[in-house]
């Protein structure tokens, strides 16, 4: 599904990713943890193609394709989805028209016909309900005036609507109350399937109780310094990151 090979990337001439290697097979869930500023979000942005994030070395294979060759929207249409740590507010563009534009674009890429307005509405309403957001959120501007938790749920709603092949969730759990955390986890779990993979970036073991990862990686200083199964997350929760630094050195 996704093969990251010796990925180096920089932002504003500052080296942030310093050789990431990661292999994600269909159906797998990979959790990425790591201290603040270690480069987790950067990895997400590099994978989604954000401007200003420059790959200086390495390669990324997405399915049969070279991910790094693709534009932002091509990646999305190919099935890569990034749930943002800080989703942006876009007043004036309604959530509904935004979602429709997005779904249509992805479907067109897969040579599927546009959904008619009624089926789309139905689908939108059902995912909206699934993440426990009021229907009125569909009419509001994209993320406009949404609370932190509502923004995160809006991200999950989009994911459910777009049904990506690879979803990267960047701290989708931070700022969520317990109920919302479950809503998000259920959303993710409902999409789990043998041909769909997830990268879950988080600081808290707690989320991984709900979304069980196959692998847990620790990203520190722009590198994956340790990988393991879900027990690693428990270990991190107990010991923090300091011991890893020693181990690496």
């Amino acid at each position: 599904m996704l093969a990251i090979n010796n990925l180096h990337a920089e932002v504003e001439e500052k080296q942030i990713l310093k050789g990431i290697n990661l292999d994600i097979k269909p159906g797998e869930v990979h959790a990425i943890m790591g201290p603040n500023g270690s480069g987790k979000s950067t990895l997400g942005h590099v994978l989604s193609g954000r401007e200003g994030y420059e790959v200086t070395q390495g390669s990324v294979q997405f399915g049969q394709k070279d991910l790094l060759e693709m534009s932002i929207e091509e990646r999305a249409r190919e099935g890569l989805f990034l749930a943002f740590q800080y989703p942006v507010e876009i007043p004036g563009v309604s959530n509904m028209e935004f979602l429709k534009a997005s779904v249509d674009a992805v479907r067109a890429h897969n040579e599927l016909p546009d959904l008619d307005a009624v089926s789309f509405m139905k689908k939108a309403r059902s995912v909206c309900k699934a993440v426990d957001l009021d229907q009125s959120f569909l009419k509001r501007g994209v993320n406009e005036g949404f609370s932190g938790g509502e923004k995160k749920r809006n991200e999950i709603m989009q994911m459910m609507l777009l049904e990506p092949r690879l979803a990267i969730l960047d701290e989708t759990d931070s700022g969520l109350d317990i109920d919302a955390l479950q809503v998000v986890a259920e959303g993710v779990n409902s999409l789990r399937s043998p041909d769909r993979s997830f990268i879950v970036i988080t600081h808290y073991q707690r989320l991984l109780d709900y979304i069980e990862p196959d692998f847990v990686h620790v990203l520190a200083g722009g590198k994956i310094v340790k990988s393991g199964d879900k027990s690693l997350a428990l270990e991190l929760e107990a010991k923090g990151y300091a011991w890893l630094a020693e181990e690496v050195v």
């Binding site: 943002f84 004036g92 563009v93 935004f98 997005s102």
Partner: protein
């Protein structure tokens, strides 16, 4: 320069209003004493008047025209069910009343609605009493010209407590003719205490080079507790020159909600003056300007707080493309003793071409201390972050730009309380953002 003054003063009237002759003579004398503003005249420093001066618009009178098919089509405004909006409709073509296109029907008691050419004695007297008194404080010399040149107009007068049962829609249509011509348009709204109304003014024209100069002045008088929703939409052909104004007097606890739009005309200069004259009055003023090609749009707004305890809120947004130019001047004037005033103004602009230009001048003039006043003006581009977000959802860069630009003004369309007008405008505005309908399908 003075050629324009003279020519305009001597322009021939085809259907003069004899009962208004004295007033018009006086106004004409005033007009003759005017000097055409120059670049050094502060209120006109950005406005290019050379087209007006060179256009010879006062040489020949406008002609009465058969209404073209194109114009007839433009008249349609569907309601929420897709039927034609139920309203009082007055239609003028090149300034002349078009009875066949108009629909007045039965009027409620307490409602006086007529065109000037049809005014009965009582209506004539109301017009004579109020005409020009609300626009009185204006510095816009073209109001004087309007006073002296008008041959038609609309009067809406509501008795105390009357709630106008249907919207009033006034269509000022332009129809092309071979020789340059000028049209004078006028609306006078007199609202008694606690009366309510919705008035929609539209400036339209057929799809041909107009070669015309339009001077449209609107005067609104709101009595105590009166509420008016007013729209003024400039949708003319790109060749029209339009200079006009909207002047409002707000009585105690009255409420004015006035929405403005300009995407037609090669030159649009609109002066809007809102006088808060009675305590507790509130005004909401909003507007959108979308000049393209070589259009020039200029809104000069002036919110006068003359008495204490009034509030005003003003929001104007513009997107300027190609070689177009927009000017926005938003003045808030708090008179001495107008304590406890709250006045806000926001003006935001997007430039989409490197030949486009915007000049924004928000002004605060404050002579009272216990007030809350703020204005903000920005000139910016589409936000990178928003653009990125849309693209990560698979939306193409092009479509994302259209969505975001449209979104920039849509925030104002969304606030329009009459949904049928919002729905009517949306597609008309969307087409200004892209030629390819594929790019528009998610906004209309």
């Amino acid at each position: 320069m003075s050629d324009l003054i003279l020519q305009a003063a001597q322009a021939e009237k085809t259907t003069p209003l004899p009962w208004l002759a004295d007033f018009q003579q006086l106004q004409n004398n005033t007009w003759l004493r005017q000097a055409v503003p120059t670049r050094k005249t502060e209120a006109w420093r950005y406005t290019p008047l050379n087209r007006l001066e060179k256009g010879n618009f006062f040489g020949a009178p406008a002609q009465v025209h058969e209404c073209s098919e194109c114009l007839q089509e433009q008249i349609s405004l569907p309601d929420a069910n897709g039927d034609e909006l139920d309203c009082y409709r007055l239609v003028f073509v090149n300034g002349f009343y078009a009875e066949s296109l108009s629909a007045l029907g039965e009027l409620q008691t307490g409602v006086s609605l007529c065109r000037f050419g049809d005014a009965n004695e009582a209506q004539q007297s109301a017009i004579k009493t109020h005409l020009g008194t609300i626009a009185n404080d204006s510095v816009n010399l073209f109001t004087t010209l309007n006073n002296s040149q008008l041959q038609e107009g609309v009067l809406l007068s509501l008795d105390d407590g009357v709630v106008l049962d249907k919207p009033l829609r006034i269509l000022w249509l332009g129809s092309a003719q071979a020789v340059p011509f000028s049209v004078t348009q006028r609306l006078l709204v007199l609202m008694g205490a606690n009366s309510q109304a919705m008035v929609l003014e539209q400036h339209l024209s057929d799809d041909a080079e107009q070669n015309s100069f339009t001077n449209g002045v609107t005067e609104l008088s709101l009595g105590e507790g009166a509420q008016l929703h007013h729209y003024r939409l400039h949708q003319e052909h790109e060749s029209v020159l339009h200079i006009g104004g909207v002047f409002a007097d707000l009585g105690k606890n009255s409420l004015l909600n006035s929405f403005h739009l300009a995407f037609g005309s090669v030159l649009t200069r609109i002066d809007i003056v809102v006088n808060h004259r009675g305590q507790g009055a509130h005004s909401e003023l909003s507007g959108i300007y979308l000049p393209r090609n070589n259009q020039y749009v200029d809104y000069h707004t002036c919110i006068e707080h003359r008495v204490p305890n009034c509030t005003s809120n003003e929001v104007f947004r513009g997107i300027i493309g190609d070689s177009a130019r927009a000017v926005f001047n938003g003045r808030i004037h708090i008179h001495r003793d107008a304590q406890k005033t709250s006045a806000k103004l926001s003006n935001k602009n997007l430039l989409t071409s490197n030949r486009a230009e915007i000049d924004s001048k928000p002004e605060l003039e404050i002579y009272a201390d216990d007030v809350l006043c703020a204005h903000g003006a920005t000139i910016s581009q589409i936000e990178d972050e928003a653009l990125h977000y849309l693209r990560t959802r698979g939306i193409s860069d092009q479509e994302a730009r259209v969505l975001l630009s449209f979104g920039f003004i849509n925030t104002l369309i969304e606030k329009i309380p009459h949904t049928e007008i919002a729905e009517y405008l949306r597609p008309k505005l969307a087409v200004l953002f892209a030629r390819d309908p594929e790019l528009l399908r998610h906004i209309v």
